[in-house]
């Protein structure tokens, strides 16, 4: 089934104003957004959708602390939408909504939507680098650093669920929707890739007790590792709380930086994820700190090397 990836995540939040400010500062563009919530879009139109938790238009809560109410997948065409509807109607209710999308639930109770994708095709360069004995990534006189670079999220990359039964949850996406497992962290869960994208994963699941069921994090792809660090540094400087990173994952090879959020989950910047095709053989390694990242750094305030700063106290501090 030609499912491309998540087009939007819908949240029912406690503090709409705080979440709206947060998503705007993260780099998403408010579209039709106001005191009741609205859409916050990446460059290609993929989005986070906010509403107050008591908004009657929202699908039901998962009954945990999670504020995620719905994951909306973008699919290639009407034919795919019809095929998904036919497949899932065999054993569950599939609603047809006025906007032409369909809505149902997965085997863990997460509400899913499917729509012909709303993504706008973009032509954007990747971060370009120079390396000895390799063709120049940037021609002569093109500088790599732009202090004023926009560094905006390009597209909704993936969502991570806490699920009470990772095997059963995986089987639903693989057997019913044509996702493939690209890698597996044993003791946690599978990285899953739908058929309509080469990205290493658009969905990762972590086995947890039932009371944790919900969203662990979501992330948008940036244009490269520099944009992850540049956007993340700006986010820290606005007072937001770094949770994990910056660093680089092993599985998927994506650069990451995670932040706390008022949406009841972590929010990440990521970049440079591996692409795979059908010839890829999924790896499986036990979950551990070492398996989770190639390296991990922590943000610090800026400083500059040089002679000792004025004053004995200053000199004593910088040894």
């Amino acid at each position: 089934m030609n499912i491309i990836g998540p087009d939007a995540l819908v949240f029912g939040v406690d503090d709409v104003a705080a979440c709206s400010q947060y998503l705007s500062d993260y780099g998403l563009k408010p579209v039709d957004a106001g005191p009741a919530g609205g859409r916050f879009e990446a460059l290609d139109g993929t989005a986070i959708v906010l509403a107050h938790k008591d908004d009657p238009a929202l699908p039901a809560s998962l009954g945990t602390a999670s504020m995620l109410r719905k994951t909306i997948y973008g699919v290639a065409d009407q034919q795919t939408l019809g095929a998904i509807g036919a497949e899932l109607s065999r054993d569950r209710e599939v609603k047809r909504l006025p906007d032409g999308s369909i809505e149902t639930v997965d085997d863990m109770g997460f509400v899913l939507g499917f729509q012909v994708t709303a993504r706008r095709a973009l032509a954007l360069p990747a971060e370009a680098i120079n390396a000895p004995y390799a063709p120049a990534g940037r021609p002569a006189n093109v500088v790599g650093v732009d202090e004023n670079a926009a560094a905006l999220p390009r597209t909704l990359s993936h969502v991570v669920y806490f699920v009470p039964d990772a095997a059963k949850a995986e089987a639903f996406y693989v057997e019913r929707l044509g996702f493939a497992c690209t890698d597996r962290l044993l003791g946690a869960g599978p990285f899953l890739k739908p058929a309509g994208t080469d990205d290493h994963h658009t969905l990762f699941m972590i086995q947890t007790p039932p009371f944790m069921k919900g969203c662990e994090h979501f992330t948008f792809h940036m244009g490269g590792p520099t944009e992850v660090l540049q956007a993340g540094t700006r986010f820290v400087n606005k007072g937001y709380q770094s949770f994990w990173g910056p660093g680089r994952h092993k599985m998927g090879s994506n650069w990451f930086w995670y932040f706390n959020s008022p949406l009841g989950c972590h929010v990440e910047y990521d970049a440079d994820m591996d692409l795979h095709d059908q010839s890829w053989q999924a790896r499986a390694v036990p979950m551990s700190a070492d398996a989770s990242q190639l390296f991990l750094f922590q943000q610090q305030d800026k400083w500059a090397p040089g002679g000792p700063p004025p004053g004995a106290a200053g000199a004593a501090e910088r040894h």
Binding site: A18, S66, F211, M212, F243, N260, L263, G264
Partner: protein, 127 residues
């Protein structure tokens, strides 16, 4: 050295309004490790460490530790909610666990102090 001299000053009592939270870095660790909340007129002190993830920081922005109704402490990692008075997790990933209380000393002048590092906590098991 008197005991008072060893205490670490956090803020003045009148600097923390009702239903307000604030983070502190009393032991100069480079990030906030303690939070104060005023609730029902009383000030409560807790370690800024969610029991779910081995003690990770809970605010989503500097000093932002409370839900919209300001009647729960919330961990902005996964939305866990804690009772302000008891520190018990009432919803979320650390259900059944509790925040670590820090003992506060309020001087006659209304200054709020915390004990030096290593002596600051009353173990949650004892509560």
């Amino acid at each position: 050295m008197s005991r008072r001299a060893m205490l670490v000053f956090l803020c003045r009592d009148d600097e923390l309004a009702e239903r307000e939270s604030r983070g502190f870095d009393p032991w100069s660790e480079g990030h906030d490790t303690v939070l104060l909340v005023r609730h029902g007129g009383k000030v409560y002190g807790w370690r800024d460490a969610c029991p779910h993830h081995g003690g990770t920081p809970m605010a989503w922005r500097k000093d932002a530790y409370l839900n919209y109704d300001r009647n729960r402490i919330v961990c902005a990692a996964h939305g866990a909610q804690f009772d302000i008075e008891s520190g018990s997790c009432v919803l979320g990933p650390c259900l059944g666990q509790s925040l670590q209380r820090v003992e506060l000393t309020v001087s006659r002048e209304g200054h709020i102090y915390i004990r030096p590092q290593g002596e600051e906590e009353t173990s949650w098991q004892e509560q």
